[in-house]
């Protein structure tokens, strides 16, 4: 199985490399290290060059042609012009200490010390407060998928409170409802793909939960082999990329019952 995965992945990359080579040939580009960063493409609701994917601890996010920042604990909005330069629009004072921002449909989810705050972004891109879910004072990134939001709460490092993760029903975004609260050791960043929730736990490792039943998540994989602070998933390739304290760790989770570490890169 392992060999098979490796071969298919290798084949895939060979195809991708050929595609890149074709593009390079067409453009007459030179083969420098970073040439394959696309400068065009896009489409859909996000015209212009494609934005990338943030980890859950992000304090900048791009949604459509707007860039939002909570870097200095204010919610700042910038319009991204066609030439990719920014027009500063506005800033909103937040009555709480915001640590993370996550774009979700036409909303922004802000992870704050005191809870999750939901803002709607209208056609003019400016965020408007919709609702909030308050919890004990903790450090907490938040992500969302479908009708649910997932957040971790961590007590360490000056964040009081408790170590746990919460699942919120946000099918009515005006009124988020707590579905479940589960204790977990020192949770940091998190990510979700379909029925699987990945939680980084600092030096306590990484856990994967099957969340098909939101009221009873089942721990299906736990690794203490590597410390992890944040994660980005590539759902198309089923690759999980973890940022540790000094490492980049990657898993192939295409077979969720037998997750494979495919690289452990000392940075």
């Amino acid at each position: 199985m392992y060999t098979f995965l490796r071969i298919s992945a290798t084949t895939l990359y060979a195809c991708l490399m050929m595609a890149f080579l074709l593009i390079l040939t067409a453009c007459g580009g030179e083969g420098s290290a970073l040439t394959s960063l696309s400068s065009s493409g896009g489409g859909g609701s996000d015209p212009g060059p494609q934005s990338g994917r943030s980890g859950s601890l992000a304090q900048f996010t791009i949604k459509g042609n707007y860039l939002y920042s909570v870097l200095d604990e204010k919610l700042k909005t910038y319009h991204i012009r066609n030439d990719l330069k920014l027009n500063y629009k506005e800033e909103q004072q937040l009555p709480f200490r915001v640590e993370t921002i996550f774009p979700f449909r036409d909303h922004l989810l802000l992870g704050a010390r005191s809870g999750v705050f939901i803002y709607k972004t209208g056609d003019n891109g400016l965020p408007m407060y919709v609702s909030e879910f308050e919890h004990v004072f903790s450090c907490d990134p938040v992500v969302a998928q479908g009708d649910y939001a997932y957040l971790t709460l961590r007590a360490a490092n000056g964040c009081r409170g408790e170590d746990r993760f919460d699942i919120l029903d946000i099918s009515n975004i005006q009124d988020p409802k707590l579905v479940l609260s589960k204790s977990i050791e020192s949770p940091f960043g998190l990510a979700v793909d379909g029925n699987y929730l990945f939680i980084c736990q600092g030096t306590s490792g990484i856990s994967v939960f099957d969340i098909s039943n939101k009221e009873e998540p089942e721990l299906i994989h736990h690794s203490t082999a590597t410390a992890a602070k944040d994660i980005i998933l590539d759902p198309a390739k089923k690759i999980a990329m973890f940022m540790g304290y000094d490492k980049l760790i990657q898993w192939d989770y295409s077979d969720i019952s037998s997750i494979k570490e495919i690289s452990n890169y000392d940075l």
Partner: protein, 181 residues
């Protein structure tokens, strides 16, 4: 001057515990080998530049712009990792950005904070080109502090020669730090 200031705080704390104002939480800590303490990340603003790959010290944020991963080195810049083959990722460049805490991208355009400024950069082949700078877009999040905010305990004393404190990280100290608050 700063040392005197810390000394003053230390003296005040000592006296406050003597007089029983602070209770057990204020004066009762002691340093043990292996304890995590706050350590200042200090940067001199030497400008933005593309450099060869660098070692990691304190990883902050991660960003995926396939096939590249951008990993923020808190307050120092961005590591660029070619992840075309996830079995064998490879550091290709380091963009030095003093004070950098976060990033977002569109194609090969990069939005970052450089100290307190919001800056738009374009990655052109192996160079980085500055296209726009919004001065003082951000408040000092972590301040140019002489001591860590919202913290009590030991910390590594900032060295005024090493530039501005842009961040306080947690480290395991090998010996008792000289400052505490």
């Amino acid at each position: 001057m700063k040392r005197i200031y810390f000394f003053f705080i230390l003296i005040s704390l000592t006296f406050s515990s003597c007089f029983g104002w602070g209770g057990s939480s204020s004066g009762g800590y002691s340093w043990n080998e292996g304890d995590a303490v706050k350590s200042p990340v200090q940067v001199k603003d030497e400008g933005i530049s593309m450099q060869s790959p660098q070692g990691f010290k304190s990883l902050g944020k991660i960003y995926y712009q396939p096939p590249f991963l951008f990993i923020n080195e808190t307050g120092r810049g961005l590591h660029i990792i070619d992840n075309s083959d996830p079995y064998s990722p490879e550091k290709v460049k380091f963009i030095k950005i003093p004070g950098n805490l976060d990033l977002a991208m569109k194609g090969n355009y990069l939005y970052v904070n450089h100290m307190r400024d919001m800056v738009l950069l374009r990655i052109d082949k192996d160079e980085v080109v500055e296209l726009q700078r919004l001065k003082n877009a951000f408040n000092d999040k972590h301040g140019n502090d002489e001591y860590p905010k919202n913290y009590r305990g030991y910390f590594i004393c900032p060295d005024p020669e090493e530039g501005k404190v842009i961040y306080w990280e947690d480290i395991i100290a090998d010996e008792e730090p000289n400052c505490r608050i």
